[in-house]
């Protein structure tokens, strides 16, 4: 069953981006799923991760309703038929 990645509005104008990107196949981890996302929509990668491969400080990733900050980061498991949400963190001034 596919994994669906929900993109925030501000990233949907990037080339190839849209509100929901469906990824076919099974993924061991968020990192694997994101690799598939970058293949589908390469422009999103640099907006979500830094050059060193870390999730940007003010970006939150959720698998289902759980933030990956508390479930193992990019190594968090991705169940089948689930949604990954990319959202701006509550921060700023």
């Amino acid at each position: 069953m596919p994994v669906r990645v929900r993109l925030p509005a501000i990233l949907r104008d990037l080339p190839g981006a849209r509100a929901t990107v469906e990824l076919s196949g099974a993924f061991d981890s968020v990192s694997d799923a994101l690799d598939a996302l970058w293949r589908e929509v390469p422009a999103v990668r640099d907006r979500v991760l830094t050059e060193t491969g870390e999730v940007r400080e003010h970006v939150q990733l959720f698998v289902g309703m759980e933030s990956i900050r508390f479930t193992g980061g990019l190594a968090t498991a991705v169940p089948e038929n689930t949604e990954i949400h990319i959202v701006p963190a509550v921060s700023g001034g």
Partner: protein, 417 residues
């Protein structure tokens, strides 16, 4: 999101760009520089610490834009701010093997070769583009410098904030960073040596180390490239040997602390600064907002206050928030962290408020659109052209005029986000 106000900028007008903590605002006025029209905010919600203008092949505006969530990108506009390149158009980022990530773009500076643009960034590094900002290379010679592990962040971050390409020798580049100090390359960026001899460091046991200075800004005039002026984190300096040695020129200023510094466009002896009280109270001294100007290369300084608030004005002007245009009499501009932008159309002798209520102003850039020499400046009362005025426009401005008619919108252009 706020409505972006369009601004039509015409040939011969002065374009004043203000990068703020919440986007880029544009202002335009005729050569008299009295009435300013306003546009923006572009990239609403995103800080812009660096703005640039390249006129080698038509006017290109460049902006270092820092989406608070999704990181920094370099954007450009070939239609004077009406549309901007897509976020993906520029490759300005660290290569994977560098082991660091781009945090902020601090400086965008055209080089002396057509099409060359430099970017100074945080963490301290220099990038170069040979196609006016699309494709970028990390300048490895500086990034791999053995001193790099000892460069430490100041209050603003570990930033390379000043890039001074030599006006006639493309192999010579001078940069400055906080902290780290001044470095110069004479072989196009392969090798770099610190150039801080005589620049004081108040916050280290060794007051005159080889490097480690917290330099805030360095400027030079194209007609006298061996002379540099430096605003330090405590200290005001001049060098007449291209940075090899420095001597203190902080006589006649209320404080030798400050961030910004600008060179007059036509007179190499004229430099502007905005002193702040001290490192621990970074506000204009005595509650007076005063620009200081030297007209004799740093031997003496005079306060410029006409039109500026002289009571309860606890203002800060950041390192790139002071700029000049190339008209004669020269326009001088600055923005404050309290969101005000001031302009002088007579070389700093008098000032008027261009905008108030902006988000904190981080940087300011002024540019004459088209050829400055063709712009007719009605002399304001009491304002005389500078004696040492340049009668010819710089090469870049000439190119700009000839290419203006061919100007096209930026490829893959978009509205600013």
């Amino acid at each position: 999101m706020p409505t972006v106000r369009d601004l039509r900028v015409r040939q011969g007008q002065v374009l004043l760009m203000a990068g703020t903590s919440k986007g880029v605002f544009l202002f335009a006025a005729g050569p008299k520089r009295e009435k300013w029209e306003r546009g923006g905010p572009h990239f609403a919600g995103s800080p812009a610490y660096a703005l640039g203008h390249d006129a080698t092949q038509g006017d290109r505006l460049l902006a270092g834009v820092e989406n608070p969530f999704y990181g920094p990108t370099l954007r450009w506009s070939d239609d004077l701010g009406r549309t901007w390149s897509e976020e993906t158009a520029s490759t300005l980022k660290f290569p994977e093997d560098a082991g660091v990530s781009l945090k902020r773009i601090w400086q965008i500076e055209p080089g002396s070769r057509n099409g060359t643009i430099y970017a100074g960034v945080e963490p301290s590094a220099l990038f170069v583009s040979h196609d006016r900002g699309a494709n970028w290379e990390l300048v490895r010679g500086l990034f791999d410098h053995p001193h790099r592990p000892q460069w430490t962040p100041g209050n603003g971050g570990q930033c390379l904030h000043t890039v001074l390409p030599h006006p006639s020798d493309p192999m010579q580049i001078t940069v400055a960073m906080s902290t780290g100090g001044v470095y110069r390359s004479e072989d196009g960026g392969r090798n770099w040596r610190p150039r801080n001899n005589g620049v004081r460091v108040d916050f280290m046991p060794d007051k005159y180390p080889e490097f480690g200075q917290c330099v805030h800004k360095v400027v030079r005039h194209a007609s006298r490239p061996a002379t540099l002026f430096l605003q330090n984190h405590g200290g005001l300096y001049r060098s007449d040997d291209n940075g090899d040695t420095w001597r203190d020129i902080a006589k006649g200023v209320p404080s030798d602390f400050g961030f910004c510094m600008a060179s007059h466009p036509h007179d190499p002896d004229v430099v502007y600064i905005v002193p702040l009280e001290a490192s621990l109270f970074r506000c204009t001294p005595e509650g007076k907002l005063r620009v200081y100007r030297t007209r004799d290369g740093g031997k003496s300084w005079e306060p410029l206050s006409k039109g500026l608030p002289q009571k309860d004005a606890n203002e800060v002007v950041l390192r790139d928030a002071l700029s000049v245009d190339r008209l004669n009499p020269a326009g001088v501009y600055f923005g404050t962290r309290s969101g005000k932008v001031y302009a002088s159309a007579d070389g700093g002798s008098s000032w008027r408020l261009v905008a108030d209520g902006l988000p904190p102003v981080l940087c300011v850039r002024a540019a004459v659109i088209g050829a400055p020499a063709k712009a007719r400046v009605p002399h304001a009362r009491g304002a005389k052209p500078t004696r040492k005025s340049a009668s010819r426009p710089p090469a870049r401005a000439k190119a700009s005029a000839s290419a203006a008619a061919k100007r096209k919108p930026a490829r893959r252009a978009s509205r600013s986000r």
